[in-house]
């Protein structure tokens, strides 16, 4: 990956020197081991801060609309899909955006590591191996062992929209069964699913990290903040939390690009993806749509067809 980083920094330096952009939005090393953090580089001297590796877990598309001026953004596959949807929804002007595309191997799930080693004191990444010194024990992991769950079934590691591509491309292996995790959940009984979601929702503390980290949650007034009508009372029991999460999942129907940032952002480890994955599976099966792939295909709930399925109707 070293040459990719050099290329990346070179490109960023050139863009800033030439004045093509005012800011490069990328990643720099975080203050915690195995954690990258978003950074906003404004001068060519600072481009050496930029990094690109398996710790780059944030979806930077969330920052683009709020950053003024012309901006370059380092976009992995899922991030570029988010940018595509934002462009389709007129939230961004294409001419203000310079997309530096990088193909993504996936990101590390630190929580998976911490369940075995305790809090991470130090770690290093090299050749697909992660050596961790933890507060409970030390261990060496292979990257595949601790890859984020979203990345394990990622089908779009290569950016779908970019102005320049850095590094190579990644070949996607077709999965045996698409949405296997959702099918697994669907096959459970109603009461098992109800119990699962109730348990997950009882962990939620309504900090809204999931909503804020999502590039596609950009409403000026989110329904949770609305006072008239007042949708949520502010109670944090599982019923209210489920209403928030289900409402959000439905508002993202046909738009969610499955970057997994929501689940990673959650401080409580709530399985937020479970809801959006189900909606995305439905959108794919019923309307043959996946969000943010091409500009011509409009978001699924903006269009319709005369033969859309209507299995949900009452039988009378």
């Amino acid at each position: 990956m070293t040459s990719t980083i050099d290329e990346l920094r070179k490109t960023a330096r050139q863009l800033l020197t030439d004045g093509k952009v005012d800011v490069v939005i990328g990643y720099e090393k975080g203050s915690l081991p195995l954690k990258a953090t978003p950074c906003f580089v404004r001068s060519p001297q600072d481009v050496d801060k930029l990094i690109w590796d398996e710790t780059c877990e944030n979806n930077l598309a969330a920052f683009v609309a709020k950053t003024s001026g012309k901006k370059a953004i380092i976009a992995k596959g899922c991030d570029s899909r988010a940018l595509m949807v934002l462009l389709q929804e007129n939230q961004l002007a294409r001419e203000d955006l310079y997309i530096i595309g990088v193909s993504c191997q996936g990101v590390i799930d630190q929580r998976k590591i911490e369940t075995e080693t305790g809090e991470i004191i130090a770690a290093s990444l090299a050749d697909g191996k992660i050596s961790v010194q933890g507060i409970e024990c030390d261990k060496v992991f292979s990257f595949t062992e601790v890859k984020d769950i979203t990345c394990q079934t990622c089908r779009y590691p290569n950016p779908v929209l970019e102005d320049v591509h850095i590094g190579g491309s990644i070949e996607v292996t077709e999965q045996a069964t698409a949405f296997a995790d959702v099918i697994d959940m669907e096959n459970k009984s109603d009461s098992e699913r109800k119990a699962y979601f109730k348990e997950q929702m009882s962990k939620c503390i309504r900090c809204y990290a999931c909503r804020n980290v999502c590039p596609l949650c950009y409403c000026q007034e989110c329904f949770v903040d609305c006072n008239s009508p007042k949708w949520l009372t502010g109670g944090v029991d599982s019923a209210e939390n489920l209403m928030f999460q289900t409402g959000r999942a439905l508002h993202l129907a046909g738009r969610c690009v499955e970057c997994g940032a929501c689940s990673r952002a959650c401080p409580q480890g709530v399985d937020i993806r479970a809801l959006s994955r189900k909606v995305n599976k439905d959108v794919k099966e019923m309307y043959n749509h996946e969000s943010g792939l091409t500009e011509e295909v409009k978001p699924a709930l903006n269009v319709y067809s005369a033969d859309d399925p209507e299995a949900f109707l009452v039988k009378e």
Binding site: G30, S31, L32, P33, K35, A36, T37, P38, C39, F40, N58, A62, F63, T67, R111, E114, T115, G118, E119, I120, I121, I135, K203, I205, C207, Y208, A209, R211, N212, V213, D225, T233, G234, G235, V236, A261, R264, A265, P267, Q268, G269
Partner: protein
């Protein structure tokens, strides 16, 4: 004095029959404070809970009172229900956090009954930290991993026994019921000395931060600090000293309740006025507020920094906006000369 964990467990179980006992338990890969009935349920080897224990005095969502209108009659009911409680396994940082919250909920004009009714009916059993995480920095804030400040009884884990000490009158009262107290051996004492002299490895310098911040309201430092912040409330909800709340009425037809819910100053609508004006609608002003409140205003108003170095905000922030780096940044910021 020391007590074997076995004997301690027996007294613990007996107390659990009389008091509501809250202790750290294993919870989906991390640790949470929950009600327990037996000492065997308590997680022994832990760093700290994911969320701070402030919710036991200051719940995230509580009904203050409820009311019902029947014809011309309105009945109002106080919804405060308090049980006598023992909070076990509280770390020095969280115990100090309670002392800081006390200053918020009591002033010369008003004492919050909801907070203090719970507080006054709770005995805090603190436990020293034998392990220090890389995100802990309590020593830089005048605390230490073995500080008994804020605890009623303080324990130091010696392996199969605890060093046990009563710190307050409540603690002395509770300790009176414990059996099997014995003297510490020389070995025990050495271990205690080691634990008591431990310091957190991560360091920040807050010695001049309050004075510096007095002059920094218009500093350009705030222009870039906030950029990666998402304006969620993960940090505020994770913080043992954050205490902002909202009070609202939840009414359906003829009955309802007045509820108090946690709020957080990082949220964009926190300062939205009824008029529509929002004095802190920019992330820049919100992050400036966070730093000023914790390291300057709280010092001026209450005499202490409103941070205990527990590190939860650092671990829980989705974009790794590290308050230690913010403190360093403030210390290094050039002062703009008028």
């Amino acid at each position: 004095m020391k007590i074997s964990k076995e004997k301690f467990g027996q007294s613990f179980d007996a107390l659990a029959a009389e008091y509501q006992v809250i202790a750290p338990v294993s919870d989906a890969g991390s640790v949470s404070f929950k009600a327990v009935k037996k000492f065997s349920e308590v997680k022994q080897d832990y760093l700290n809970s994911k969320l701070p224990p402030k919710s036991f005095f200051f719940p995230q969502h509580e009904k203050l009172l409820s009311y019902k209108k029947e014809g011309k009659e309105v009945t109002v009911k106080n919804e405060l229900k308090v049980e006598k409680t023992i909070l076990f396994g509280i770390r020095p940082c969280d115990a100090k956090g309670f002392l800081l919250l006390d200053k918020v909920f009591k002033n010369d004009q008003y004492t919050d009954p909801y907070y203090f009714e719970r507080r006054d009916n709770t005995i805090i059993v603190g436990v020293a930290c034998n392990k220090i995480a890389p995100t802990c920095f309590c020593s830089s804030l005048g605390l230490s991993p073995a500080s008994s400040v804020g605890s009623d009884i303080f324990l130091i884990d010696l392996g199969d026994s605890y060093q046990i000490e009563a710190i307050s009158d409540n603690g002395k009262f509770l300790l009176g019921g414990f059996e099997g107290l014995e003297e510490l051996s020389n070995e025990d004492q050495t271990l205690v000395d080691t634990i008591q002299s431990a310091e957190t490895t991560s360091k920040v310098d807050v010695s001049t931060i309050t004075a510096k911040l007095d002059k920094m309201f218009d500093s350009p430092y705030w222009d870039t600090l906030h950029e990666k912040c998402l304006s969620c409330n993960a940090c505020s909800f994770s913080c043992p000293t954050c205490h902002c709340f909202d009070i609202s009425e939840e009414v359906l037809k003829n009955e309802g309740s007045r509820v108090r819910t946690w709020d957080g100053c990082m949220a964009p609508l926190f300062t939205l006025h009824g008029s529509g004006h929002n004095p802190r609608d920019q992330k820049k002003s919100r992050w400036r507020q966070r730093m000023l409140h914790k390291f300057n205003y709280f010092v001026h108003n209450n005499g202490d920094i409103a941070c205990v170095g527990c590190g939860r905000c650092i671990k829980n922030c989705p974009v790794n906006l590290d308050i230690r780096q913010a403190i360093d940044g403030v210390n290094k910021a050039e002062l703009v000369v008028d």
